[in-house]
Symmetry: C2
Subunit: 130 residues, 2 copies
DNA sequence: ATGGGTGCAAAGTGTTTGCAAGTAT
DNA sequence: ATACTTGCAAACACTTTGCACCCAT
């Protein structure tokens, strides 16, 4: 891995991700970062998100329309409200045994799995009843 | 759900998806469909894939760069080779209990979950050894 | 005849990249 | 001094859409 430098842009991107608890998208991060520094470009935000993910400083969550980021870095699962698009962490343990089983059954070297639950959040479901 | 018609384009898209066992992308499907009918447009393929997914006739698999489709319609998990991009079904049972647990812990109405395993396939891993 | 479907091309999204200038080491 | 980073804008990849015409029902 090539040597990384400590730039104010990179620090700012990391800070913003850490300041969020709602799994912001690259663009939301960009907008926030812009409030602190009017000169930062989208490209820089995207590049730094990639570097931070590779370094393991932030986590990358793949979602339908846009990828999201978060500062919690232990493996865990996510829950998406298919109505309002809200996303949250889900209090279930990462199942490492699954990776072993999958490896045995397929012959692949399994690194991990990603699980996204899809459902309707409480506030969206009460809204529907009315 | 609005009334659907039976067009030769829609039938063709479904046939092509069924003829594949390798989780083709919309573009791969488009190219195949074009071999049978030179006039079909990308828009039509995308629109029909959407209709077929909504009707439950095909399954939609969300992957990093492009979405994929397959004719097997029961809930199951997928395995992606992060080196060559190949994707395959994985012989593990869909865990319905997880949805119940997630629902109890979060208060969401959980409809389903999607799990993607990430690893390196046998042929990519032997290639690396050399 | 009616309203869903099609082809086309243009417009969207979200993300990446080439380049010249800037800056951390 | 070196080579990683940046801002900018252009380019990308994938998907959606408006529109006028077409066709299954």
């Amino acid at each position: 891995m090539k040597q990384q430098r400590d730039t104010k842009q990179r620090r700012l991107v990391l800070d913003i991700v850490c300041a969020h608890s709602d799994h912001p998208s690259a663009d939301q991060i960009y907008l926030d970062v812009r409030m602190a520094d009017k000169k930062i470009s989208r490209g820089t935000v995207y590049r730094n998100l990639k570097v931070l993910v590779r370094q393991g400083q932030i986590l990358h969550v793949r979602l339908p329309t846009t990828d999201r980021y978060e500062s919690r870095t232990d493996m865990h699962y996510h829950l998406l409200c298919v109505d309002c698009g809200a996303i949250c962490d889900i209090p279930l343990l990462y199942n490492e045994k699954l990776d072993k089983q999958a490896s045995l059954k397929t012959g692949y070297i399994i690194k991990r799995h990603r699980t996204i639950f899809e459902g309707v959040c409480p506030s969206c479901s009460t809204m529907k009843e009315q």
